[in-house]
Structure formats: structure tokens, C-alpha cells
């Protein structure tokens, strides 16, 4: 799928997205970014979504409203009206078609890491699909179930999950050790035969409840990325071609965001098409810089320096690959309900939205103006 068009769906009046290797969605809260990303998954993975819902006892009886509530979450059927439309490259798709039971399939092409990922762990262990309330969104239930399968089937009873040789590139591991885990390791532990994830430093296990907010946010994300990067040798998992990551910055310090961004670029380098939503200026700053480096014909070292990443051969290969990828940025506007392509992020652009990065660069500019004008006035010799 190259393009997706949405009309009159929830807060969206008119959204037109043409996907790059990395596509970034920005815009104020509740402007439809998540709805767009969830539709991306539904359009591509309808058979898988149906299969999962049916498997866990959800019966929407072919009804559109019931299906929307089952997929997007309770009460969300209100986003769809008689004027709503959705289309992909090949043309319009009706909601009836999406809700109608077709061939259920295990094949899944889109892996979605939802914004509510922190809910996927309870007492330090991933919650199964059926552990959620019937009205909870499919995206969080499905993600949680995948984490459960990962830790139960791919790791041993007492295994160290992070850092682990062979999982993630060494250069990225090093940044995560330093900026996210602060020297702690992530392990599977047992208390009275009950398995749980713990952080460990110097022999004492720290249970989920005492982790920092950032660590609680990051561990589900890390496990999701483990799912997508099975080993250093295998570049992709199964049939997955797309990765959707909502609000990658959640709970993280800018240095940790930088490490996560590098992991996102690793996904792009592996050939996944990645879509992220964000409220972090840092993400757009990275995209802007990569586009500038591309235009300047810069080498991989420039990119690695930006991330303060080690210049190993593997990391240089990653950076080199990334510099040949296509990046797109879309702004979701609350006033008009439409999307704007602001991919150039050009500070000189005629469009204010583009020059000010959909509002993400606005505060910095106003802060500079307030300070500069005050200092200039204070310096008058009168």
C-alpha cells in the first residue's frame, strides 16, 4: 500500500497520506493520528484482525458498529457516519467490507506498538489477549498477546532479556544500557513459581512496580522491537512488512529518545515500512537533519555522530542504508480536520505549518524572540 485516504472519520475531514520508508505523523491531541494508523492496520490485516477477534470469542455479527467498537474500542462507532469514506491505492473500501467476515488468516503484515503499551504488563508479566475488557482496543490487546508469546516461547525460565548478545546491534545496546537502563539488566525471575520480569543490578531483583516511569514505558517497547528484530542475523520477522509505533518518546529522556530513534532507523534499514506518531520536536529534528544530510551527500559518519553512536562497521552500514531511504511527515490540523504534507521541514517554507514543523518548533522560536527582544531593549543606552 502506497497511499491511504480518509474522509469524515471522527475528527478527520480529509486525510491523504502517501507513505515513505519512514512516515511521521504530528499534530495536536485528538486530531485522528491514531485512528489513521489503526485504519492502516485494518486495511492491510483485515483477515488477521478477524481471526484474532473470533479466536477470543468476539462476535460482531457482521455489524459495522459492533465491529468498529470491537476493533477501535468501546464507543468508537461514533467516528463513522454516512459520509465517511476510506480508500487505499486500489480504490475505495467500505466499512461493510471491512466488517464482513472473510477469510480469517494468521498472516499478519502490520505490527502495531500502541500508545497504551504500558498497560501490556501486569505484575511484571505480559497480559494475554483475553485478560482485557471486551471494550478495550484491539491494538493494545493484540500487542500484549504478542509480548506474552515472545517471553513465554522465546526466552528460557531464568534468562536475561537485556542486554543480550545477538539481540540488537551492539552500538544500539550500548546506548540503551547507558541512557535507558542505567546499568540495570532485564531478566525473567520467579517468585513462588510465578514468572515475572525484573530489573537487576548487583544481584537484587527490582519488580515492575518499582521501575521508573520511563523503564515501565520502555520495556514493552523493547520487547516489541525484539519481536521485530528476532536476531542480529534475521533482518525481519515472518510476514511483517509494516511497523506502526505510536508516540515513541513516551516517558523517555531526550537521550533515551535518541536511542529509540536509532532503533526505529534500524527497522527502516531492515526494510520495514515504519509509521510513527509523535509530539517530540526531537523526532522532527532527526528527520530534518537526515534530509539535510541526504541533500548534502553526507556519509554515514555524519548520521552516527548526530546520534552519538559508535562508528562500528555494522552501524555505518545501518547509517548508509538509512541515508538512501525516503522520509515523509504529515501534520493533522485540528481547525480544518485535514492533513498537510510538511515533509521538507524547510525553515524557509512559505507555509507556516511547514516552516514551524506543525507547531513543534513554534515554542522554541517564540522563546528566542522573547529573550532577544528583552535583551535588546534592556541594552538601550537611554
Amino acid at each position: 500500500m502506497q497511499t491511504m485516504r480518509l474522509r469524515n472519520i471522527g475528527p478527520i475531514r480529509r486525510a491523504e497520506l502517501s507513505f515513505g520508508d519512514l512516515t511521521v505523523l504530528v499534530g495536536p491531541q485528538a486530531t485522528g493520528k491514531s485512528i489513521a494508523l489503526e485504519f492502516l492496520k485494518l486495511l492491510i490485516d483485515k483477515g488477521h484482525v478477524h481471526q484474532q477477534l473470533t479466536r477470543y470469542g468476539i462476535d460482531w455479527s457482521g455489524k459495522v458498529d459492533n465491529f468498529i467498537d470491537a476493533y477501535f474500542g468501546e464507543g468508537m462507532h461514533a467516528i463513522w457516519s454516512a459520509t465517511s469514506e476510506i480508500a487505499r491505492d486500489s480504490g475505495k473500501v467500505t466499512m461493510k467490507q471491512l466488517a464482513r467476515r472473510g477469510r480469517a488468516t494468521k498472516t499478519e503484515n502490520v505490527f502495531m506498538i500502541p500508545a497504551q503499551r504500558v498497560l501490556s504488563l501486569r505484575n511484571g508479566w505480559p497480559r494475554p489477549f483475553a485478560d482485557y475488557a471486551p471494550g478495550d482496543p484491539f491494538a493494545v490487546r493484540d500487542f500484549s498477546e504478542k509480548l506474552r508469546i515472545l517471553v513465554e516461547q522465546e526466552f528460557g525460565a531464568k534468562e536475561q532479556l537485556f542486554p543480550q548478545k545477538g539481540r540488537l546491534k551492539e552500538g544500539i545496546r550500548r546506548l540503551l544500557v547507558e541512557h535507558v537502563f542505567g546499568g540495570f539488566s532485564l531478566k525473567i525471575d520467579k517468585v513462588a513459581s510465578q514468572k515475572r520480569l525484573v530489573l537487576e543490578h548487583g544481584g537484587d531483583p527490582l519488580p515492575h512496580m518499582v521501575w521508573s516511569a520511563g523503564q515501565r514505558e520502555f520495556v514493552p517497547l523493547l520487547l516489541g522491537l525484539y519481536w521485530l528484530m528476532p536476531s542480529a542475523r534475521l533482518s525481519r520477522r515472518g510476514d511483517i512488512q509494516w511497523v506502526v509505533l505510536e508516540e515513541l518518546e513516551m516517558g523517555l529522556h531526550p537521550r533515551a529518545i535518541s536511542a529509540v530513534l536509532l532503533m526505529v532507523l534500524d527497522l527502516v534499514w531492515r526494510g520495514y515500512k515504519v509509521c510513527v506518531s509523535t509530539h517530540a520536536t526531537q523526532v522532527l529534528e532527526a528527520v530534518w537533519a537526515i534530509r539535510q544530510l541526504q541533500e548534502a551527500g553526507a556519509g554515514p559518519r555524519s548520521l552516527l555522530r548526530m546520534f552519538n553512536a559508535p562508528e562500528t562497521q555494522l552501524m555505518q552500514g545501518l547509517a548508509d542504508g538509512v541515508l538512501n531511504k525516503a522520509f515523509r511527515v504529515y501534520y493533522f490540523d485540528r481547525e480544518t480536520g485535514s492533513t498537510s504534507d510538511i515533509s521538507s521541514l524547510d525553515p524557509d517554507a512559505e507555509s507556516d505549518l511547514e516552516a514551524r514543523w506543525g507547531g513543534l518548533g513554534e515554542f522554541s522560536e517564540r522563546a528566542n524572540q522573547a529573550v532577544a527582544d528583552a535583551v535588546a531593549a534592556a541594552g538601550c543606552s537611554k
Binding site: A289, P347, S364, A367, K382
Partner: protein, 154 residues
């Protein structure tokens, strides 16, 4: 008494002969980077660099001063405009120009130095830094801000 840009600039022996109407002190290539929200409020302009290039060839000369009468009709405000390449590496160079201008004005153009003012850096070509650049913060602390490729005086 109301402070007027034209009178203040003409009171400076070096700049006096270089004061022009509107934005006429700016050559066409640089004038394309500066606009006024209300051109009737423009109180004149002066090309500082052109006026001092011969006498101070080795100094980091600032480009232009533009006078503008604000909507409340109080004192004119002087918009000191530097049209300059916009890369992080050039922040130091603009800082040096700013320091020179303030020092020179204090010693040689007392009436201009007393007026309300803005110091702005306009990109002469493409802008090659992001809005969050620490260099821009450093410059703001000294009283100057970067405004992109076009500066609209208002």
C-alpha cells in the same frame, strides 16, 4: 519628545549622508528579504556597512538599520537587520557583528543607541539550522534573533 529614526541617523556624522527613504538603503538583492507590514510606517533606512566599509575595512560591520513607526505612533523602533548565510558556523560571526554594532553605536551614534530596537538575522540563502539550535539560544541571550529568509517589520 518623540524619537525619530531619520533625525537620529542624520545626527550621526558618518551615517547621515546614507539615510534613505523607505527600504531604499537596501540593495535589491537584500531588499527581497525585508518587508514592512505597513510601508507607510517605514521611517527610512541606512546601510551601515556601506557607510563604514572604507573607514573600517577590517571591522565586522552590521548591514542595515530600518526605522519603523509603531501603530501607537510613539517612538520609532529601529530594526537592525543583518542579511547573512544561516548555518550554525555563522552564529559566531553574527555575534561578532552584533557586539561591534552595539559598541560602535554607543560611541558614535548616541541618539540611535537610545532608541527602541530589534536585532534580527535574516537568512541570505537557505536556512541550515533547526529552530531549537543552541547557537540561536546563545544569540538570543545577546539580544538578536534569527527570523528565517524574510523579515516582516511590524
Amino acid at each position: 519628545m518623540r524619537q525619530e529614526f531619520r533625525a537620529a541617523a542624520q545626527a550621526c556624522s558618518v551615517l547621515g549622508a546614507h539615510v534613505r527613504h523607505g527600504l531604499q538603503a537596501l540593495p535589491g538583492v537584500d531588499r527581497a528579504h525585508v518587508r514592512a507590514k505597513d510601508t507607510r510606517r517605514l521611517a527610512g533606512s541606512v546601510a551601515v556597512e556601506a557607510a563604514l566599509a572604507e573607514t573600517l575595512p577590517n571591522s565586522p560591520l552590521w548591514d542595515y538599520g530600518v526605522g519603523y513607526r509603531p501603530s501607537d505612533n510613539r517612538n520609532d523602533v529601529v530594526h537592525w537587520v543583518e542579511v547573512h548565510p544561516a548555518t550554525d558556523g555563522e552564529v559566531r560571526s553574527v555575534e561578532a557583528k552584533l557586539e561591534w554594532l552595539i559598541e560602535w553605536m554607543t560611541e558614535n551614534a548616541a541618539e540611535l543607541a537610545e532608541m527602541d530596537r530589534r536585532f534580527v538575522w535574516v537568512s541570505s540563502g537557505r536556512t541550515h539550522f533547526s529552530p531549537t539550535s543552541p547557537g540561536l539560544k546563545r544569540l538570543a541571550q545577546k539580544g538578536c534573533r534569527h527570523v528565517g529568509k524574510v523579515y516582516t517589520i511590524e
